[in-house]
Amino acid sequence: MKSMAIGLKQVRLRRLNLEPYILLLPSMVYLALFFAWPMFQAFRLAFQTDDGHLTLSYLQRMFGDAAFIKALRTTIVLVVSIVPIQFILALTMAILVSERLRGADLFVYIYSIPLAVSDLAAGIIWFSIFTERGYLNSLLYNLGLIQKPFLFLDYRTPWPIVGIVLAEVWRATSIVFVILVAGLQSIPRDYIEAAEIFGANWFQRVWKVILPLLRPSIQTALILRTILAVQVFAVVVAVAGRGVTVLAAEAYRWYSEYRSPHMAAAYAMFILVISLASAFIYLRTLRVREEMRL
Protein backbone atom coordinates (compact mmCIF):
# COMPACT_ATOMS: atom_id res chain seq x y z
CA MET A 1 0.00 0.00 0.00
CA LYS A 2 2.65 2.42 1.10
CA SER A 3 4.82 1.95 -1.95
CA MET A 4 1.80 2.44 -4.20
CA ALA A 5 1.03 5.77 -2.55
CA ILE A 6 4.60 6.90 -3.10
CA GLY A 7 4.39 5.76 -6.69
CA LEU A 8 1.28 7.87 -7.26
CA LYS A 9 2.94 10.87 -5.68
CA GLN A 10 5.91 10.51 -8.01
CA VAL A 11 3.62 10.32 -11.01
CA ARG A 12 1.91 13.52 -9.92
CA LEU A 13 5.24 15.25 -9.38
CA ARG A 14 6.48 14.24 -12.77
CA ARG A 15 3.29 15.62 -14.30
CA LEU A 16 3.60 19.03 -12.67
CA ASN A 17 4.12 20.82 -15.93
CA LEU A 18 5.14 24.47 -15.95
CA GLU A 19 4.19 24.97 -19.60
CA PRO A 20 0.55 26.05 -19.08
CA TYR A 21 1.54 28.52 -16.37
CA ILE A 22 4.17 30.11 -18.60
CA LEU A 23 1.56 30.45 -21.36
CA LEU A 24 -0.92 32.06 -18.95
CA LEU A 25 1.60 34.44 -17.43
CA PRO A 26 1.49 37.26 -20.04
CA SER A 27 -2.29 37.51 -19.84
CA MET A 28 -2.24 37.55 -16.03
CA VAL A 29 0.41 40.26 -15.94
CA TYR A 30 -1.51 42.29 -18.50
CA LEU A 31 -4.82 42.02 -16.66
CA ALA A 32 -3.12 42.85 -13.36
CA LEU A 33 -1.59 45.98 -14.88
CA PHE A 34 -4.47 47.24 -17.00
CA PHE A 35 -7.48 45.79 -15.24
CA ALA A 36 -6.90 45.14 -11.54
CA TRP A 37 -4.59 48.10 -10.93
CA PRO A 38 -6.91 50.73 -12.50
CA MET A 39 -9.84 49.28 -10.50
CA PHE A 40 -7.82 49.82 -7.35
CA GLN A 41 -6.77 53.30 -8.50
CA ALA A 42 -10.40 54.22 -9.22
CA PHE A 43 -11.16 53.26 -5.64
CA ARG A 44 -8.37 55.52 -4.41
CA LEU A 45 -9.42 58.41 -6.62
CA ALA A 46 -12.97 58.19 -5.30
CA PHE A 47 -12.02 57.97 -1.61
CA GLN A 48 -8.72 59.83 -1.29
CA THR A 49 -7.80 63.49 -1.68
CA ASP A 50 -4.72 64.49 -3.65
CA ASP A 51 -2.68 64.83 -0.46
CA GLY A 52 -3.58 61.31 0.63
CA HIS A 53 -6.40 61.77 3.16
CA LEU A 54 -9.30 59.36 3.15
CA THR A 55 -12.52 61.21 2.45
CA LEU A 56 -16.17 60.71 1.70
CA SER A 57 -16.49 64.24 0.37
CA TYR A 58 -16.51 63.19 -3.30
CA LEU A 59 -19.29 60.71 -2.68
CA GLN A 60 -21.25 63.25 -0.64
CA ARG A 61 -20.84 65.81 -3.38
CA MET A 62 -22.01 63.28 -5.97
CA PHE A 63 -25.09 62.29 -3.96
CA GLY A 64 -25.89 65.96 -3.42
CA ASP A 65 -25.51 66.84 -7.09
CA ALA A 66 -28.80 67.70 -8.82
CA ALA A 67 -27.63 65.93 -11.99
CA PHE A 68 -26.93 62.73 -10.04
CA ILE A 69 -30.58 62.05 -9.19
CA LYS A 70 -31.62 62.75 -12.78
CA ALA A 71 -28.85 60.57 -14.19
CA LEU A 72 -29.64 57.73 -11.79
CA ARG A 73 -33.36 57.89 -12.52
CA THR A 74 -32.83 57.88 -16.31
CA THR A 75 -30.30 55.04 -16.10
CA ILE A 76 -32.72 52.91 -14.06
CA VAL A 77 -35.64 53.69 -16.41
CA LEU A 78 -33.47 52.69 -19.38
CA VAL A 79 -32.24 49.45 -17.80
CA VAL A 80 -35.67 48.24 -16.67
CA SER A 81 -37.26 49.01 -20.04
CA ILE A 82 -34.42 47.88 -22.34
CA VAL A 83 -33.43 44.55 -20.77
CA PRO A 84 -36.88 42.87 -20.60
CA ILE A 85 -37.83 43.98 -24.14
CA GLN A 86 -34.51 42.65 -25.44
CA PHE A 87 -34.95 39.38 -23.64
CA ILE A 88 -38.46 38.70 -24.99
CA LEU A 89 -37.53 39.82 -28.52
CA ALA A 90 -34.33 37.75 -28.53
CA LEU A 91 -36.16 34.67 -27.25
CA THR A 92 -38.76 35.07 -30.02
CA MET A 93 -35.97 35.44 -32.59
CA ALA A 94 -34.09 32.42 -31.24
CA ILE A 95 -37.19 30.20 -31.30
CA LEU A 96 -38.10 31.40 -34.80
CA VAL A 97 -34.72 30.53 -36.30
CA SER A 98 -34.82 27.15 -34.57
CA GLU A 99 -38.02 26.28 -36.41
CA ARG A 100 -36.30 25.21 -39.61
CA LEU A 101 -38.00 27.86 -41.68
CA ARG A 102 -36.63 28.00 -45.18
CA GLY A 103 -33.88 30.62 -45.19
CA ALA A 104 -33.26 30.32 -41.45
CA ASP A 105 -29.54 30.83 -42.07
CA LEU A 106 -30.24 34.17 -43.72
CA PHE A 107 -32.38 35.21 -40.77
CA VAL A 108 -29.57 34.24 -38.36
CA TYR A 109 -27.17 36.44 -40.32
CA ILE A 110 -29.55 39.41 -40.47
CA TYR A 111 -30.39 39.10 -36.78
CA SER A 112 -26.72 39.20 -35.85
CA ILE A 113 -25.80 42.24 -38.00
CA PRO A 114 -26.36 44.76 -35.15
CA LEU A 115 -23.64 42.97 -33.13
CA ALA A 116 -21.16 44.90 -35.24
CA VAL A 117 -22.87 48.26 -34.83
CA SER A 118 -21.24 50.81 -32.56
CA ASP A 119 -23.45 52.44 -29.93
CA LEU A 120 -22.54 55.82 -31.41
CA ALA A 121 -23.60 54.78 -34.93
CA ALA A 122 -26.85 53.30 -33.56
CA GLY A 123 -27.52 56.57 -31.74
CA ILE A 124 -26.94 58.61 -34.90
CA ILE A 125 -29.18 56.30 -36.94
CA TRP A 126 -32.08 56.65 -34.49
CA PHE A 127 -31.43 60.37 -34.26
CA SER A 128 -31.94 60.55 -38.04
CA ILE A 129 -35.30 58.85 -37.52
CA PHE A 130 -36.54 60.90 -34.57
CA THR A 131 -35.13 64.35 -35.38
CA GLU A 132 -37.41 67.23 -36.34
CA ARG A 133 -37.10 66.75 -40.10
CA GLY A 134 -36.35 63.08 -39.68
CA TYR A 135 -37.76 59.95 -41.26
CA LEU A 136 -40.45 59.31 -38.65
CA ASN A 137 -41.93 62.79 -39.02
CA SER A 138 -41.73 62.46 -42.81
CA LEU A 139 -43.58 59.15 -42.65
CA LEU A 140 -46.30 60.56 -40.38
CA TYR A 141 -46.69 63.57 -42.69
CA ASN A 142 -46.88 61.40 -45.81
CA LEU A 143 -49.57 59.33 -44.11
CA GLY A 144 -51.47 62.53 -43.41
CA LEU A 145 -51.26 62.12 -39.62
CA ILE A 146 -49.45 65.40 -38.89
CA GLN A 147 -49.32 68.80 -40.57
CA LYS A 148 -45.95 69.99 -39.27
CA PRO A 149 -42.98 68.17 -37.70
CA PHE A 150 -43.51 66.94 -34.15
CA LEU A 151 -40.58 67.64 -31.77
CA PHE A 152 -39.86 64.09 -30.60
CA LEU A 153 -36.49 64.97 -29.12
CA ASP A 154 -37.82 67.70 -26.82
CA TYR A 155 -36.32 66.72 -23.46
CA ARG A 156 -39.44 67.85 -21.58
CA THR A 157 -41.36 64.95 -23.14
CA PRO A 158 -40.69 61.22 -22.59
CA TRP A 159 -40.01 60.77 -26.32
CA PRO A 160 -36.19 61.02 -26.19
CA ILE A 161 -36.22 58.11 -23.71
CA VAL A 162 -38.39 56.14 -26.14
CA GLY A 163 -35.86 56.89 -28.90
CA ILE A 164 -32.93 55.73 -26.74
CA VAL A 165 -34.78 52.54 -25.75
CA LEU A 166 -35.55 51.75 -29.41
CA ALA A 167 -31.94 52.43 -30.44
CA GLU A 168 -30.60 50.14 -27.71
CA VAL A 169 -33.17 47.41 -28.40
CA TRP A 170 -32.33 47.65 -32.09
CA ARG A 171 -28.57 47.49 -31.52
CA ALA A 172 -28.04 45.16 -28.60
CA THR A 173 -30.73 42.49 -28.85
CA SER A 174 -28.40 40.52 -31.14
CA ILE A 175 -25.99 39.58 -28.37
CA VAL A 176 -28.86 38.13 -26.32
CA PHE A 177 -30.06 36.33 -29.45
CA VAL A 178 -26.64 34.78 -30.10
CA ILE A 179 -26.28 33.61 -26.50
CA LEU A 180 -29.79 32.09 -26.49
CA VAL A 181 -29.32 30.34 -29.86
CA ALA A 182 -26.06 28.84 -28.62
CA GLY A 183 -27.92 27.66 -25.52
CA LEU A 184 -30.82 26.22 -27.52
CA GLN A 185 -28.40 24.22 -29.66
CA SER A 186 -27.05 22.48 -26.58
CA ILE A 187 -30.43 21.18 -25.37
CA PRO A 188 -30.63 17.45 -26.18
CA ARG A 189 -33.40 16.77 -28.59
CA ASP A 190 -34.54 13.70 -26.63
CA TYR A 191 -35.81 15.88 -23.80
CA ILE A 192 -38.12 17.77 -26.10
CA GLU A 193 -39.26 14.63 -27.89
CA ALA A 194 -39.93 12.92 -24.56
CA ALA A 195 -42.09 15.86 -23.49
CA GLU A 196 -43.92 15.61 -26.80
CA ILE A 197 -44.58 11.90 -26.36
CA PHE A 198 -45.97 12.55 -22.88
CA GLY A 199 -48.47 14.93 -24.45
CA ALA A 200 -46.96 18.33 -23.74
CA ASN A 201 -48.19 20.94 -26.21
CA TRP A 202 -45.93 23.57 -27.78
CA PHE A 203 -46.30 26.16 -25.02
CA GLN A 204 -45.74 23.53 -22.33
CA ARG A 205 -42.61 22.35 -24.12
CA VAL A 206 -41.24 25.89 -24.32
CA TRP A 207 -42.27 26.82 -20.78
CA LYS A 208 -41.51 23.59 -18.92
CA VAL A 209 -38.64 22.05 -20.86
CA ILE A 210 -36.80 24.59 -22.99
CA LEU A 211 -36.81 27.62 -20.70
CA PRO A 212 -35.62 25.75 -17.56
CA LEU A 213 -32.83 24.06 -19.54
CA LEU A 214 -31.92 27.40 -21.06
CA ARG A 215 -31.45 28.96 -17.64
CA PRO A 216 -27.60 29.15 -17.73
CA SER A 217 -27.72 31.00 -21.07
CA ILE A 218 -30.51 33.27 -19.85
CA GLN A 219 -28.45 34.09 -16.79
CA THR A 220 -25.36 34.93 -18.86
CA ALA A 221 -27.36 37.06 -21.28
CA LEU A 222 -29.21 39.01 -18.59
CA ILE A 223 -26.09 39.71 -16.54
CA LEU A 224 -24.15 40.88 -19.59
CA ARG A 225 -26.93 43.07 -20.94
CA THR A 226 -27.77 44.65 -17.59
CA ILE A 227 -24.15 45.55 -16.93
CA LEU A 228 -23.81 47.08 -20.39
CA ALA A 229 -27.11 48.95 -20.00
CA VAL A 230 -26.00 50.45 -16.67
CA GLN A 231 -23.04 52.09 -18.45
CA VAL A 232 -25.03 53.22 -21.50
CA PHE A 233 -23.42 56.38 -22.86
CA ALA A 234 -22.89 57.27 -26.53
CA VAL A 235 -26.41 56.25 -27.63
CA VAL A 236 -27.93 58.62 -25.10
CA VAL A 237 -25.84 61.60 -26.18
CA ALA A 238 -26.28 60.85 -29.90
CA VAL A 239 -30.07 60.51 -29.72
CA ALA A 240 -31.02 63.07 -27.09
CA GLY A 241 -28.06 65.45 -26.86
CA ARG A 242 -27.61 67.21 -23.55
CA GLY A 243 -31.23 67.17 -22.47
CA VAL A 244 -31.01 63.65 -21.08
CA THR A 245 -28.22 62.51 -18.80
CA VAL A 246 -27.12 59.11 -17.48
CA LEU A 247 -24.49 57.99 -14.96
CA ALA A 248 -21.74 57.30 -17.53
CA ALA A 249 -22.37 60.67 -19.19
CA GLU A 250 -21.91 62.37 -15.80
CA ALA A 251 -18.62 60.49 -15.26
CA TYR A 252 -17.50 61.71 -18.69
CA ARG A 253 -18.61 65.27 -17.97
CA TRP A 254 -16.80 65.44 -14.62
CA TYR A 255 -13.61 64.17 -16.18
CA SER A 256 -13.58 66.08 -19.48
CA GLU A 257 -15.41 69.29 -18.69
CA TYR A 258 -15.14 69.94 -14.96
CA ARG A 259 -11.65 68.42 -14.81
CA SER A 260 -12.28 66.38 -11.67
CA PRO A 261 -10.96 62.82 -11.90
CA HIS A 262 -12.10 62.31 -8.29
CA MET A 263 -15.75 63.01 -9.04
CA ALA A 264 -15.55 61.01 -12.28
CA ALA A 265 -14.11 58.08 -10.31
CA ALA A 266 -16.91 58.43 -7.73
CA TYR A 267 -19.46 58.06 -10.53
CA ALA A 268 -17.50 55.11 -11.97
CA MET A 269 -17.47 53.43 -8.54
CA PHE A 270 -21.21 53.92 -8.30
CA ILE A 271 -21.69 52.30 -11.74
CA LEU A 272 -19.49 49.40 -10.60
CA VAL A 273 -21.55 48.89 -7.43
CA ILE A 274 -24.85 48.81 -9.39
CA SER A 275 -23.33 46.40 -11.95
CA LEU A 276 -22.04 43.98 -9.33
CA ALA A 277 -25.27 44.19 -7.34
CA SER A 278 -27.37 43.38 -10.40
CA ALA A 279 -25.08 40.49 -11.37
CA PHE A 280 -25.40 39.16 -7.81
CA ILE A 281 -29.20 39.42 -7.89
CA TYR A 282 -29.37 37.50 -11.18
CA LEU A 283 -27.03 34.81 -9.84
CA ARG A 284 -29.22 34.37 -6.75
CA THR A 285 -32.66 34.49 -8.38
CA LEU A 286 -31.78 32.43 -11.45
CA ARG A 287 -29.65 29.96 -9.56
CA VAL A 288 -28.47 27.21 -11.86
CA ARG A 289 -28.48 23.83 -10.17
CA GLU A 290 -25.46 21.71 -10.98
CA GLU A 291 -27.49 18.94 -12.68
CA MET A 292 -28.98 21.50 -15.06
CA ARG A 293 -25.64 22.43 -16.51
CA LEU A 294 -25.39 20.63 -19.80
Binding site: I95, I113, A116, V117, I124, S128, R133, Y135, R205, A234
Partner: protein, 275 residues
Protein backbone atom coordinates in the same frame (compact mmCIF):
# COMPACT_ATOMS: atom_id res chain seq x y z
CA UNK B 1 -30.44 24.16 -38.09
CA UNK B 2 -32.15 21.75 -35.76
CA UNK B 3 -35.80 22.12 -35.10
CA UNK B 4 -36.59 22.42 -31.42
CA UNK B 5 -40.29 22.07 -31.05
CA UNK B 6 -42.95 21.65 -33.67
CA UNK B 7 -45.12 24.77 -33.47
CA UNK B 8 -48.73 24.65 -32.30
CA UNK B 9 -51.41 24.59 -34.95
CA UNK B 10 -52.75 28.03 -34.13
CA UNK B 11 -49.36 29.57 -34.92
CA UNK B 12 -48.98 28.32 -38.46
CA UNK B 13 -45.82 28.33 -40.57
CA UNK B 14 -47.13 31.40 -42.37
CA UNK B 15 -47.43 33.41 -39.17
CA UNK B 16 -43.92 32.40 -38.14
CA UNK B 17 -42.53 33.48 -41.51
CA UNK B 18 -44.30 36.78 -41.17
CA UNK B 19 -42.83 37.35 -37.70
CA UNK B 20 -39.33 36.37 -38.81
CA UNK B 21 -39.65 38.72 -41.78
CA UNK B 22 -40.94 41.63 -39.70
CA UNK B 23 -38.02 41.29 -37.27
CA UNK B 24 -35.61 41.21 -40.22
CA UNK B 25 -37.17 44.42 -41.57
CA UNK B 26 -36.94 46.04 -38.14
CA UNK B 27 -33.18 45.43 -38.28
CA UNK B 28 -32.64 46.31 -41.95
CA UNK B 29 -34.78 49.46 -42.33
CA UNK B 30 -32.67 51.73 -40.07
CA UNK B 31 -29.53 50.58 -41.94
CA UNK B 32 -31.27 51.37 -45.21
CA UNK B 33 -32.26 54.84 -43.96
CA UNK B 34 -28.76 55.88 -42.83
CA UNK B 35 -27.29 54.52 -46.08
CA UNK B 36 -29.78 56.55 -48.09
CA UNK B 37 -29.01 59.66 -46.03
CA UNK B 38 -25.25 59.24 -46.48
CA UNK B 39 -25.62 59.06 -50.29
CA UNK B 40 -28.05 61.99 -50.54
CA UNK B 41 -26.89 65.52 -51.40
CA UNK B 42 -27.07 68.07 -48.58
CA UNK B 43 -30.24 69.82 -49.74
CA UNK B 44 -32.11 66.49 -49.68
CA UNK B 45 -30.91 65.90 -46.10
CA UNK B 46 -32.29 69.29 -45.04
CA UNK B 47 -35.52 68.96 -47.03
CA UNK B 48 -38.99 68.53 -45.52
CA UNK B 49 -40.83 66.24 -45.81
CA UNK B 50 -38.24 63.65 -46.74
CA UNK B 51 -38.97 60.89 -49.17
CA UNK B 52 -38.46 57.37 -47.82
CA UNK B 53 -37.26 56.28 -51.26
CA UNK B 54 -33.82 57.26 -52.62
CA UNK B 55 -34.23 60.46 -54.67
CA UNK B 56 -30.79 61.22 -56.00
CA UNK B 57 -27.44 59.53 -55.63
CA UNK B 58 -24.57 61.77 -54.62
CA UNK B 59 -21.20 61.55 -52.89
CA UNK B 60 -21.44 65.17 -51.76
CA UNK B 61 -22.32 64.37 -48.14
CA UNK B 62 -19.70 61.65 -47.71
CA UNK B 63 -16.99 63.81 -49.30
CA UNK B 64 -18.00 66.75 -47.12
CA UNK B 65 -17.54 64.50 -44.07
CA UNK B 66 -14.20 63.04 -45.18
CA UNK B 67 -12.80 66.46 -46.05
CA UNK B 68 -13.91 68.03 -42.76
CA UNK B 69 -11.06 69.04 -40.49
CA UNK B 70 -9.62 66.15 -38.48
CA UNK B 71 -11.71 63.35 -39.96
CA UNK B 72 -9.08 61.62 -42.10
CA UNK B 73 -6.53 61.86 -39.28
CA UNK B 74 -9.04 60.29 -36.90
CA UNK B 75 -9.75 57.47 -39.36
CA UNK B 76 -6.02 56.80 -39.53
CA UNK B 77 -5.79 56.83 -35.72
CA UNK B 78 -8.74 54.44 -35.48
CA UNK B 79 -7.11 51.97 -37.86
CA UNK B 80 -3.77 52.14 -36.00
CA UNK B 81 -5.45 51.70 -32.60
CA UNK B 82 -7.53 48.76 -33.85
CA UNK B 83 -4.49 47.05 -35.44
CA UNK B 84 -2.36 47.57 -32.32
CA UNK B 85 -5.20 46.22 -30.18
CA UNK B 86 -5.66 43.10 -32.26
CA UNK B 87 -1.92 42.39 -32.39
CA UNK B 88 -1.48 42.93 -28.65
CA UNK B 89 -4.50 40.90 -27.63
CA UNK B 90 -3.50 37.99 -29.89
CA UNK B 91 0.10 38.00 -28.66
CA UNK B 92 -0.96 38.12 -25.01
CA UNK B 93 -4.23 36.18 -25.26
CA UNK B 94 -3.64 33.36 -27.75
CA UNK B 95 -1.00 31.54 -25.60
CA UNK B 96 -3.45 31.58 -22.70
CA UNK B 97 -6.20 30.27 -24.98
CA UNK B 98 -3.87 27.50 -26.13
CA UNK B 99 -3.02 26.59 -22.53
CA UNK B 100 -6.72 26.38 -21.62
CA UNK B 101 -7.40 24.17 -24.64
CA UNK B 102 -4.48 21.75 -24.30
CA UNK B 103 -3.50 21.33 -20.67
CA UNK B 104 -5.15 20.07 -17.52
CA UNK B 105 -3.56 21.94 -14.66
CA UNK B 106 -4.25 23.10 -11.15
CA UNK B 107 -5.96 26.48 -11.03
CA UNK B 108 -7.49 26.16 -14.49
CA UNK B 109 -11.05 26.66 -13.25
CA UNK B 110 -10.02 29.59 -11.08
CA UNK B 111 -8.30 31.22 -14.05
CA UNK B 112 -11.30 30.64 -16.31
CA UNK B 113 -13.67 32.06 -13.69
CA UNK B 114 -11.41 35.09 -13.25
CA UNK B 115 -11.45 35.73 -17.01
CA UNK B 116 -15.24 35.37 -17.17
CA UNK B 117 -15.80 37.65 -14.20
CA UNK B 118 -13.88 40.51 -15.82
CA UNK B 119 -16.98 40.95 -17.96
CA UNK B 120 -18.95 41.93 -14.87
CA UNK B 121 -16.76 45.01 -14.40
CA UNK B 122 -17.83 48.11 -16.31
CA UNK B 123 -15.23 49.47 -18.72
CA UNK B 124 -16.08 53.02 -17.67
CA UNK B 125 -14.14 52.45 -14.47
CA UNK B 126 -10.87 51.56 -16.25
CA UNK B 127 -10.60 54.70 -18.33
CA UNK B 128 -10.53 57.40 -15.67
CA UNK B 129 -7.69 56.12 -13.44
CA UNK B 130 -5.71 55.10 -16.54
CA UNK B 131 -6.12 58.57 -18.01
CA UNK B 132 -4.63 59.99 -14.80
CA UNK B 133 -1.78 57.44 -14.92
CA UNK B 134 -1.09 57.98 -18.64
CA UNK B 135 -0.65 61.70 -18.06
CA UNK B 136 2.06 60.82 -15.54
CA UNK B 137 3.68 58.31 -17.90
CA UNK B 138 3.58 60.70 -20.88
CA UNK B 139 1.29 58.37 -22.77
CA UNK B 140 -1.79 60.58 -22.61
CA UNK B 141 -3.32 61.52 -25.96
CA UNK B 142 -1.47 58.78 -27.87
CA UNK B 143 -2.83 55.92 -29.94
CA UNK B 144 -0.84 53.53 -27.74
CA UNK B 145 -2.76 54.52 -24.62
CA UNK B 146 -6.10 53.85 -26.32
CA UNK B 147 -4.84 50.52 -27.69
CA UNK B 148 -3.68 49.46 -24.19
CA UNK B 149 -7.16 50.03 -22.75
CA UNK B 150 -8.90 48.41 -25.72
CA UNK B 151 -6.65 45.37 -25.26
CA UNK B 152 -7.68 45.11 -21.60
CA UNK B 153 -11.30 45.15 -22.81
CA UNK B 154 -10.75 42.61 -25.59
CA UNK B 155 -8.37 40.22 -23.84
CA UNK B 156 -10.92 38.07 -21.95
CA UNK B 157 -12.92 37.51 -25.14
CA UNK B 158 -9.75 36.77 -27.13
CA UNK B 159 -8.64 34.18 -24.56
CA UNK B 160 -12.01 32.40 -24.55
CA UNK B 161 -12.41 32.48 -28.35
CA UNK B 162 -8.85 31.31 -29.09
CA UNK B 163 -9.25 28.53 -26.53
CA UNK B 164 -12.36 27.29 -28.37
CA UNK B 165 -10.44 27.59 -31.67
CA UNK B 166 -7.59 25.40 -30.36
CA UNK B 167 -10.05 22.89 -28.88
CA UNK B 168 -11.35 22.53 -32.45
CA UNK B 169 -7.85 21.62 -33.69
CA UNK B 170 -7.26 17.96 -32.91
CA UNK B 171 -4.59 17.31 -30.32
CA UNK B 172 -3.77 13.97 -31.98
CA UNK B 173 -2.43 15.72 -35.08
CA UNK B 174 0.10 17.60 -32.97
CA UNK B 175 1.06 14.38 -31.18
CA UNK B 176 1.46 12.60 -34.51
CA UNK B 177 3.79 15.37 -35.68
CA UNK B 178 5.89 14.89 -32.54
CA UNK B 179 6.04 11.14 -33.09
CA UNK B 180 7.28 11.86 -36.61
CA UNK B 181 10.15 13.96 -35.26
CA UNK B 182 8.89 17.50 -34.66
CA UNK B 183 9.63 19.08 -31.32
CA UNK B 184 6.87 20.74 -29.26
CA UNK B 185 7.28 24.16 -30.91
CA UNK B 186 7.53 22.77 -34.45
CA UNK B 187 4.43 20.67 -33.91
CA UNK B 188 2.63 23.84 -32.90
CA UNK B 189 3.87 26.12 -35.68
CA UNK B 190 3.69 23.52 -38.47
CA UNK B 191 0.48 21.70 -37.56
CA UNK B 192 -1.73 23.40 -34.99
CA UNK B 193 -1.15 27.01 -36.06
CA UNK B 194 -2.05 26.64 -39.77
CA UNK B 195 -5.22 24.76 -38.81
CA UNK B 196 -6.15 27.35 -36.21
CA UNK B 197 -5.45 30.29 -38.52
CA UNK B 198 -9.02 30.95 -39.77
CA UNK B 199 -10.32 30.91 -36.21
CA UNK B 200 -7.54 33.18 -35.00
CA UNK B 201 -8.29 35.56 -37.88
CA UNK B 202 -11.95 35.61 -36.83
CA UNK B 203 -10.93 36.41 -33.26
CA UNK B 204 -8.69 39.21 -34.57
CA UNK B 205 -11.60 40.65 -36.56
CA UNK B 206 -13.86 40.63 -33.48
CA UNK B 207 -11.17 42.57 -31.65
CA UNK B 208 -10.78 45.01 -34.54
CA UNK B 209 -14.53 45.74 -34.59
CA UNK B 210 -14.63 46.14 -30.81
CA UNK B 211 -11.83 48.68 -30.91
CA UNK B 212 -13.17 50.46 -34.01
CA UNK B 213 -16.54 50.99 -32.27
CA UNK B 214 -15.38 52.02 -28.81
CA UNK B 215 -16.25 55.57 -27.71
CA UNK B 216 -15.88 56.17 -23.96
CA UNK B 217 -12.25 55.19 -23.33
CA UNK B 218 -11.11 56.72 -26.63
CA UNK B 219 -12.77 60.04 -25.78
CA UNK B 220 -11.39 60.14 -22.22
CA UNK B 221 -7.84 59.18 -23.20
CA UNK B 222 -7.25 61.54 -26.12
CA UNK B 223 -7.39 65.25 -26.77
CA UNK B 224 -5.99 65.87 -30.25
CA UNK B 225 -5.16 62.36 -31.46
CA UNK B 226 -8.78 61.27 -31.51
CA UNK B 227 -10.04 58.03 -33.00
CA UNK B 228 -12.97 58.33 -35.42
CA UNK B 229 -15.74 57.56 -32.87
CA UNK B 230 -14.11 59.88 -30.32
CA UNK B 231 -13.77 62.67 -32.90
CA UNK B 232 -17.33 62.22 -34.09
CA UNK B 233 -18.65 62.08 -30.52
CA UNK B 234 -16.93 65.28 -29.45
CA UNK B 235 -18.01 67.12 -32.61
CA UNK B 236 -21.54 65.78 -32.55
CA UNK B 237 -23.41 68.59 -30.82
CA UNK B 238 -21.79 71.28 -32.96
CA UNK B 239 -21.98 69.53 -36.32
CA UNK B 240 -24.56 69.82 -39.11
CA UNK B 241 -26.85 66.92 -40.04
CA UNK B 242 -24.92 65.76 -43.16
CA UNK B 243 -21.74 65.45 -41.05
CA UNK B 244 -23.52 63.33 -38.44
CA UNK B 245 -25.27 61.04 -40.91
CA UNK B 246 -22.16 60.46 -43.03
CA UNK B 247 -20.15 59.86 -39.84
CA UNK B 248 -22.63 57.32 -38.53
CA UNK B 249 -22.63 55.53 -41.88
CA UNK B 250 -18.83 55.60 -42.03
CA UNK B 251 -18.45 53.91 -38.62
CA UNK B 252 -21.15 51.39 -39.49
CA UNK B 253 -19.91 50.04 -42.82
CA UNK B 254 -16.52 48.45 -42.02
CA UNK B 255 -17.99 46.81 -38.94
CA UNK B 256 -20.81 45.21 -40.93
CA UNK B 257 -18.47 44.07 -43.71
CA UNK B 258 -16.04 42.49 -41.23
CA UNK B 259 -18.87 40.83 -39.35
CA UNK B 260 -20.03 39.21 -42.57
CA UNK B 261 -16.74 37.31 -42.81
CA UNK B 262 -16.81 36.04 -39.25
CA UNK B 263 -20.50 35.19 -38.97
CA UNK B 264 -19.71 31.48 -38.78
CA UNK B 265 -17.63 32.06 -35.66
CA UNK B 266 -20.19 34.21 -33.84
CA UNK B 267 -21.57 31.34 -31.84
CA UNK B 268 -18.09 30.13 -30.89
CA UNK B 269 -17.95 33.05 -28.52
CA UNK B 270 -20.42 31.26 -26.31
CA UNK B 271 -18.78 27.89 -26.50
CA UNK B 272 -21.01 26.17 -29.03
CA UNK B 273 -20.65 26.02 -32.79
CA UNK B 274 -23.66 26.67 -34.94
CA UNK B 275 -23.07 23.80 -37.32
Amino acid sequence: MRRLAPPPRLVGRGTMYLMALLIALWILIPIYLITMAAFSPKDVIYSWPKSLMPQSFSLETLLFFLNAYGVLASVRNSVIVALLTLALSLVVGAPAGYALARFIFRGKDVYRLMILSTRAFPIVILSIPLAVAFIRWNLYDTVISVALVHTAMALPTTILVTSSVFIGVSKELEEAAMVLGCNRLQAFTKVALPLALPGLAASAIFTFVLSWNEVFAATILTLYNRTLPAHLFVQLAASPLPFRFAGGFFILVPAIVFMFFVRRYLFNLWGITLK
